[in-house]
């Protein structure tokens, strides 16, 4: 059960972030950081099916994390968090078509490794 939850967290986290990125790119870049612009962006989110699906997926990941924490130690959640960094970078390159070169791969690997070390 624990590993099923770890899988659900990693997959939902990854899908949620990819959907949110695609949705926000479709909605358009925020031009400035004035409160009115940010409020307009928030209003647009409710008409944005990709972001709504992304937030829903992240909510599933959050509740799976709460369930995991209720039956396992917090360190058990680390593989899910660490693998999300690598999975998301992979999908960013092949699904979102971002230009992920050596430097970004190295950054993702370092952060994933660092997250594991933090719970040592």
């Amino acid at each position: 059960m624990k590993w099923i939850l770890v899988g659900i967290i990693a997959i939902c986290n990854t899908l949620g972030d990819v959907l949110n990125t695609a949705g926000m790119k479709r909605q358009g870049e925020v031009e400035d950081l004035r409160p009115r612009t940010l409020l307009r962006m928030l209003a647009g989110i409710f008409r944005n099916p990709l972001v709504m699906a992304g937030l829903g997926t992240l909510a599933i990941s959050f509740f799976a994390l709460l369930s995991l924490l209720s039956i396992a130690n917090v360190s058990f959640a680390v593989p899910a968090t660490a693998s999300s960094y690598l999975l998301e970078t992979l999908l960013a390159k092949y699904v979102l078509k971002e230009d992920v070169r050596l430097r970004r791969w190295a950054a993702a690997v370092l952060v994933a490794g660092g997250v594991v070390l933090l719970q040592w």
Partner: protein
């Protein structure tokens, strides 16, 4: 004004906006999680299928404040994703891990083991590496997904 100069000003403004949004994401993440953690400590352990127990958590002002700050975190994260690549945002915002660990050490006197210090340094290197790449490498939305 020459066009190249205008483009340089635009690029500088873009970098400035991305940096401010990154800072908002990281700081709201740290503050929101610390507040939520304080609130949940006050409320006590919740392992329940009943939503009423979770609603009870919202009677604590720290929990409410933490959730409000995390809403700001989510909004600034979405704003950042509208302007920057996911593969840029992920490692750059991981600096929140470093801040949480350091805040815990200096404010709450948490013990940080050697492995955790190494983790902090490793994540910091990852953040610096990602910061050196351009924030956005795509133009427009990913059409094939829409």
């Amino acid at each position: 004004m020459p066009l190249t100069y205008v483009k340089e000003i635009d690029a500088a403004a873009e970098v400035h906006k991305t940096r401010i949004l990154t800072l908002m994401v990281v700081v709201s993440n740290v503050i929101g999680n610390v507040m939520l953690s304080l609130g949940m400590h006050h409320v006590g352990r919740i392992v329940s299928a009943s939503p009423i127990d979770y609603i009870r958590a919202f009677t604590d002002p720290w929990t409410v404040a933490g959730v409000c700050i995390l809403v700001i975190w989510m909004a600034s994260d979405l704003a950042l994703l509208s302007a920057a690549d996911l593969s840029f945002v992920l490692p750059v915002t991981a600096s929140a891990y470093v801040l949480i660990a350091i805040a815990g050490h200096f404010l709450l006197h948490d013990h940080i083991s050697v492995a955790r210090w190494i983790g902090i340094v490793v994540i910091t290197f990852g953040v610096i590496l990602a910061e050196e790449t351009p924030a956005r490498t795509t133009e427009g939305p990913p059409e094939h997904l829409l």
